[in-house]
């Protein structure tokens, strides 16, 4: 059974703005019956102000598909086309109080239907570049296509990099083997295309899953052991490294609508403030652990990351 938020249930059981919109100015059809979900979005537009004055939907699909469609209509009515186009699929999901990772594609469908409807209104043809791969990492809702894009765009070569760029495998780690398969497949294709040197290609046989908790003196509870090879850092050097690491991490959190800010450093304790989507997110503790691992890696010393509330 999916864990749907109350808002998803409300929009599913009592959908708003469903049905046909007579003499619509723009109609966007996306999805297919073969895929199990399809959506027709109909909009009325005031040409003078380019404001969406009314919107209706018809959806074939599961509970979250119907809820996402209905939510979308509520979000765009009264907005200008430009404003409406600024709504991301994450915004739709957020409006609904979140969607299970397997169901995020429902919000993507709404996002695409709006583009299709606006294109139709403007007399253009909307070309779909929608790709959907099998979900690989359930913890963070990362599918095969997202991993492939990250690998290709950034020339990633290790599993660790894939985790850092996409978060896949960053929590429970059980999808490790699947991530390996995807990385190996993409590399094979890249080598064949001549975009990757065969020597750099990922070899699953030689690879070892990165330990989620590095074994050497990184437990936050472990006594401060002398870091093996690295020379001792001055407090200032340490704080600078921490600052640098936090800055590097922020873009990833911001991608998901969250953020993280360094508040203070006291010995081994690093105080950070999570904000935006990170606040109240079920995955916040995972994020904190991820931040901690990243800092430990960077500084080479045991550190303890402590989340502090805003205004602390």
């Amino acid at each position: 059974m999916w864990e749907y938020s109350e808002k998803v249930k409300e929009y599913f059981f009592n959908p708003k703005n469903s049905g046909l919109l007579e003499s619509a100015d723009g109609v966007g059809d996306v999805g297919a019956i073969a895929c199990g979900d399809a959506l027709r979005l109909m909009i009325k537009v005031d040409p003078a102000t380019e404001t969406i004055t009314d919107a209706r939907f018809q959806t074939f699909g599961c509970g979250s598909a119907i809820a996402s469609s209905s939510a979308l209509t509520e979000m765009i009515i009264g907005r200008t086309i430009e404003e409406a186009m600024g709504i991301s699929n994450q915004d739709i999901a957020d409006f609904l109080g979140g969607l299970p990772p397997e169901k995020m594609h429902c919000s993507v469908m709404g996002y695409e239907a709006l583009r299709a409807a606006v294109a139709n209104y403007r007399g253009e043809t909307w070309i779909d570049d929608h790709e959907e791969g099998a979900l690989v990492c359930k913890c963070f809702g990362i599918d095969e296509g997202m991993i492939e894009r990250a690998v290709r765009m950034n020339g990633l070569t290790t599993l660790e990099q894939v985790t850092h760029y996409t978060k896949a495998m960053g929590s429970c780690g059980t999808c490790g083997e699947k991530v390996e398969e995807v990385l190996a497949r993409v590399h094979r294709e890249m080598v064949a295309e001549g975009t990757l040197d065969a020597a750099e290609a990922f070899d699953p046989a030689a690879a070892r899953l990165p330990a989620l908790r590095p074994k050497v003196a990184v437990s936050p509870l472990a006594p401060a052991a002398s870091p093996a090879a690295k020379p001792a850092l001055t407090s200032l050097q340490k704080i600078r490294l921490i600052e640098q690491a936090v800055e590097e991490l922020r873009p990833y959190l911001q991608q998901d609508g969250g953020d993280c800010e360094l508040v203070d450093v006291d010995g081994d304790a690093v105080m950070v403030k999570l904000s935006g989507a990170c606040v109240g997110c079920q995955m916040a503790s995972v994020t904190i652990r991820g931040v901690q691992e990243r800092l430990i890696e960077k500084v080479g010393q045991p550190l303890r990351v402590i989340p502090v509330k805003a205004g602390h």
Binding site: D29, G31, A32, C35, G36, A38, F60, C62, I66, A116
Partner: protein, 400 residues
């Protein structure tokens, strides 16, 4: 309102009599059957009795042909892996396209990691096995043929007795996953050529985590789990005594209720099916109506999606299940319905109602009362539904 549970192919309620039979084996008769003292002896006797009760239910010739396992999946895995080891010089598996994942996932894994050749025999539109293709796939390399007795999604029954004989003609072992059949239809295994049969407790009002593998006397078995000498060294690990006792008690009850299953339960199922088809148009029964488990109906409602149906039913206190993609988290609808070539317009809206002896006529009435309105309502939302201004012809999405 009393909830209506019509998902008995997923799992059943443990019969209170089963629970009662099990209870002493937690606190009073807690001994280990292997122990050389009184605590162990009485437990050993209880396991023996349970073995005989299961033997009775499936009509096995000897009680020692019953090996207790953790459930259907373990039994399936044991049977197939054992056959590959004991059948020398044979490295192929013949199975059907509509097996349970307990068989299909294992086959896929063996294909990938051991180079085992797997023949997946197709089915027709009613879910019936292509016997000619089955016959052609069998050969001197076949280690084992594994075909389910009855399909979990549609209830379609396979002619396993015939299939077993055909397998033997080519020197292969025959295994059947009878998890959905045992307790629902009469089984007399000793009169058949079946070598191995899997059954699961929780499908017949016993607890979860217990099942059995029938191993015909003389059939060699390589244990999946190695360790102590329990189950005549065919399944190691200290016996799960309360669950074994529960399975035994449930088997005895199932045998006693078998005529009810084929009579009263079948009548309930038939009434629901006929009632729904009468009240809802563009609906079709999937599977083979002439040869089906008495408790199962799988009805596909066109142009709507199964998860949406289930969520609405659930709000009315009615539990059913669906082969739709959205309920499983995959992107494809059920492999069973796809193998049957059920059109996509219907496959996504397939809804399974599976009964047990716990169900009543009121349950059927409740579903007949609420489901037509649910289907109507969801269709009014669907762009594919004719009369919505769309209809299938009028709705042409960009990436259809």
């Amino acid at each position: 309102m009393k909830p209506v549970y019509l998902d008995n192919n997923a799992t059943t309620r443990v019969d209170p009599q089963v629970v009662e039979a099990m209870l002493p084996f937690f606190t009073e008769q807690f001994g280990n059957a292997s122990s050389m003292h009184g605590f162990g002896a009485s437990v050993g006797a209880a396991i023996r009795k349970a073995r005989q009760q299961v033997q009775e239910l499936i009509g096995a010739e000897f009680d020692h042909e019953v090996v207790f396992t953790s459930g259907g999946t373990e039994s399936d895995n044991t049977a197939i892996l054992s056959a590959l080891e004991t059948q020398r010089g044979r490295d192929e598996i013949v199975t059907s396209a509509v097996e349970h994942p307990a068989v299909l996932s294992l086959c896929e894994h063996l294909e990938k990691t051991r180079g085992v050749r797997v023949h997946r025999i197709p089915v027709d539109a009613k879910g019936r096995l292509d016997i000619d293709a089955y016959r052609r796939a069998l050969g001197p390399r076949t280690a084992i043929a594994s075909v389910m007795w009855a399909n979990n999604e549609t209830g379609t029954i396979f002619p396993v007795e015939t299939l077993a004989e055909l397998a033997h003609d080519s020197g292969a072992l025959f295994h059947t996953d009878a998890v959905q059949a045992v307790g629902k239809i009469a089984i007399d295994i000793k009169t058949s050529a079946i070598d191995l049969l899997s059954l699961s407790g929780h499908k017949l009002h016993a607890p979860k985590g217990i099942g059995a593998l029938y191993v015909r006397r003389g059939v060699r078995l390589r244990p999946l789990i190695r360790g102590g000498h329990q189950e005549r060294a065919r399944r190691a690990g200290t016996e799960n005594v309360p669950a074994i006792v529960g399975l035994g008690a449930a088997a005895e009850l199932a045998l006693r209720h078998l005529s009810e299953e084929c009579g009263r339960v079948r009548a309930l199922r038939d009434r629901l099916e006929a009632g729904l088809l009468e009240r809802i148009d563009n609906a079709m029964v999937t599977g083979d109506p002439a040869n089906r488990l008495p408790n199962t109906t799988n009805i596909a409602f066109e142009y709507i999606e199964g998860e949406a149906i289930l969520l609405r039913l659930n709000r009315e206190g009615i539990a059913a299940s669906s082969g739709s993609a959205c309920t499983s988290g995959s992107l494809e609808p059920s492999h069973v319905l796809r193998a049957m070539n059920v059109p996509y317009t219907a496959a996504h809206g397939a809804t399974r109602f599976s009964f047990s002896r716990d169900n009543t006529e009121e349950d059927v009435e409740r579903v007949l009362d609420v489901l037509p309105a649910i289907v109507r309502d969801l269709r009014s939302l669907s762009p594919f539904w004719q009369g919505n201004g769309g209809g299938q012809a009028g709705f042409q999405p960009t990436y259809a």
